[in-house]
């Protein structure tokens, strides 16, 4: 009898955790331990040789963290996952497993500011070169490819421009030269978009955002599809004897989860941005309600976007599923269940009015995060994108008057009330 294909909602609650044999504990135990005892010298040797699966040291794997990894892998429809301390760490682990000194990445110009800085500044220190291109133009990605390109990188939904990535078209560009497309799916979450279904090869998340959903806990994760042909000649580190892990050949030995094993046993083991077990537990508590929260985030964000469109103190509103939005068609294709909880708008009166708006909101929280159950607000030009020049800000889609809202789960009328009274104050 064929195995049942369980629905997304069931996976949110069950994937990655079966009650343990010893206690039968229904909730996921928090394995707050650094290390795990070996049964014997031979067992220890087998674990270190990767001849058997098991836990050695929590920098490399931990049963509570594994539950998060398997759950997100299942939600994304992927083969395997590796959790990390933050989303920034997860994307770093993915890219440093693909690229070495002298390699090249092609990335969307509209990336989240922190990611842009990681690629443009920190990776430059490792002599990994990144070309940033127009995120809306797959041909621009193609033109930027070089013989040493090892990855193409984009976001399902850009932040804060909220541009929707044509994942299938950009995957074709990457596959044309035999390299993977890495997609940051943070702002969509697997509830709204599963990039593997459109050709992406690796997905990364800041689990801190919608997956966790409660704004209490940092975390990141990378997921591999299990479908990329690592033996195509471009990735000898996947097929040849590993210098970093005593001669293991990751693709031959672990097949469709070889990339995750390499990222775990080499990149994570040596760089060390591990997720804490307690954090994994807290993030999993959030994931249990992902399928209930996301529709509400989307419904309320669309309602706020429509409300602002008609407001006299608002110059423009940007939400991908809004009528007339330049990304509406791509959003209908890639985000048919909703375009997430984030929108941006321009307050009439430019930057000063924008600051007055932010100082006038009563329960919308002014802070540098998105995807919380609580509604959030920020002025990107003076905060998240402050380290960029004004030209770089504009290239990333940040204008001086832009306000970013992350719409939470409060009573919709209350959200609209708070926005309205703050807009009124902004015009005084």
């Amino acid at each position: 009898m064929a195995d049942r294909e369980f629905g997304f909602d069931t996976l949110c609650l069950h994937a990655g955790h079966v009650p343990d044999a010893e206690t039968g504990a229904r909730a996921l135990p928090i394995y707050q331990t650094t290390s795990f005892v070996f049964d014997s010298a031979d067992h220890a040797a087998s674990l270190f040789n990767l001849q058997t699966f098991g836990n050695v040291y929590s920098r490399i794997s931990n049963p509570t963290v594994s539950a998060l990894e398997e759950r997100v892998a299942a939600l994304e429809g992927g083969r395997a996952a590796l959790a990390a301390a933050t989303g920034m760490a997860a994307q770093m682990l993915a890219l440093l497993t693909l690229c070495r000194n002298g390699d090249h990445i092609v990335a969307a110009r509209t990336l989240y500011g922190g990611t842009y800085s990681q690629l443009a500044t920190t990776f430059a220190q490792f002599a990994i070169d990144v070309t940033f291109v127009d995120a809306d133009d797959p041909a621009a990605f193609r033109r930027a490819l070089k013989p040493n390109t090892k990855a193409v990188y984009a976001e399902t939904l850009g932040n804060p421009q909220l541009n929707v990535c044509d994942i299938a078209a950009i995957a074709d560009v990457a596959h044309g030269i035999g390299v993977p497309l890495v997609v940051d799916n943070t702002l969509a979450s697997p509830y709204l978009c599963r990039p593997f279904e459109h050709g992406a090869d690796i997905v990364v998340h800041s689990v801190t955002k919608y997956l966790g959903g409660h704004g209490t806990t940092m975390g990141g994760i990378l997921v591999e599809s299990g479908k990329f042909p690592w033996d195509n000649g471009n990735f000898p580190q996947m097929t040849e004897a590993s210098r970093g892990y005593h001669g293991v050949r990751f693709y031959e030995t672990f097949g469709d989860f070889g990339f995750t094993m390499k990222a775990r046993m080499e990149t994570m083991r040596t760089l060390g941005p591990t997720l804490a077990p307690l954090s994994a537990f807290l993030l999993l508590q959030g994931i249990e309600t992902l399928h209930l929260r996301m529709p509400r985030h989307c419904e309320s964000a669309l309602a706020v976007a429509r409300h602002l469109t008609a407001h006299r103190a608002v110059e423009w509103v940007n939400y991908p599923l809004l009528e007339g939005n330049r990304y509406a068609k791509l959003a209908q294709r890639y985000l048919p269940r909703g375009a997430g909880g984030i929108l941006t708008f321009g307050v009439r009166g430019s930057a000063a009015a924008g600051e007055r708006f932010i100082e006038s909101v009563q329960f919308l929280s002014h802070l540098a995060n998105v995807g919380d159950a609580k509604s959030l607000v920020i002025h990107p030009a003076s905060t998240t994108h402050r380290q960029l020049s004004e030209d770089e800000q504009r290239a990333a889609g940040v204008t001086p008057e832009m306000i970013r809202l992350s719409i939470g789960l409060e009573t919709l009328d209350d959200i609209l009330w708070d926005i309205d009274q703050a807009l009124e104050n902004s015009q005084r």
């Binding site: 009898m1 064929a2 195995d3 049942r4 369980f6 069931t10 996976l11 069950h14 994937a15 990655g16 079966v18 009650p19 343990d20 044999a21 039968g24 229904r26 031979d42 067992h43 087998s46 040789n49 990767l50 001849q51 058997t52 699966f53 098991g54 836990n55 794997s61 049963p63 594994s66 539950a67 990894e69 398997e70 892998a73 299942a74 992927g78 083969r79 395997a80 996952a81 590796l82 959790a83 004897a241 001669g247 293991v248 050949r249 031959e252 030995t253 097949g255 989860f257 995750t260 094993m261 775990r264």
Partner: protein
């Protein structure tokens, strides 16, 4: 007997088996066949290497073919090309084995037909190590999506 491809069926096969003949087992520690055989040894199975070029692998006596193995065999696990599978399937039937297992990347419809006609279970295009770890526990710790959804205690 159908080809076994579901979690309950794989669990049944792996729970009942004790002796696994590994056809095409390599002497090199970094080859997948060696990883799989070492894993099975570590998980309580007896393994019997089958490789005409060696007399001993992993401390176990090595036989040139399945027919030469004295005593009974539960699973014949094949690390051989698809073309080599049908004769191994005939030997597995003659030996009274219960399962013909073709490793990941190996598909032989003819081998499967022979084994099924002989009353064996057949597993095709799956790794015995990865499937054991997937359905009996362990693979989960590597962050792999096992597909196991259950509220029963882990066996």
């Amino acid at each position: 007997m159908p080809i076994v491809d579901d979690i309950a069926g794989l669990r049944r096969i792996l729970a009942r088996a004790h002796v696994v003949a590994v056809a095409g087992l390599s002497e090199h520690w970094y080859r997948p066949s060696y990883f799989a055989a070492k894993y099975l040894l570590d998980h309580g199975y007896r393994i019997i290497p089958v490789n005409p070029n060696h007399t001993e692998i992993l401390g176990e006596r090595c036989y040139p073919d399945v027919a030469s193995i004295p005593g009974s065999v539960d699973i014949v696990d094949c690390f051989r090309r698809a073309n080599d599978i049908p004769p191994i399937a005939h030997e597995a039937v003659a030996k009274g084995a219960k399962v013909l297992w073709m490793q990941i990347g190996i598909r032989s419809e003819e081998g499967a037909r022979i084994a099924l006609a002989g009353g064996l279970d057949v597993v095709m295009n799956r790794c015995v190590k990865i499937e054991h770890a997937r359905v009996m526990g362990g693979l989960h710790w590597a962050g792999v999506n096992t597909g196991v959804i259950s509220a029963r205690r882990h066996a």
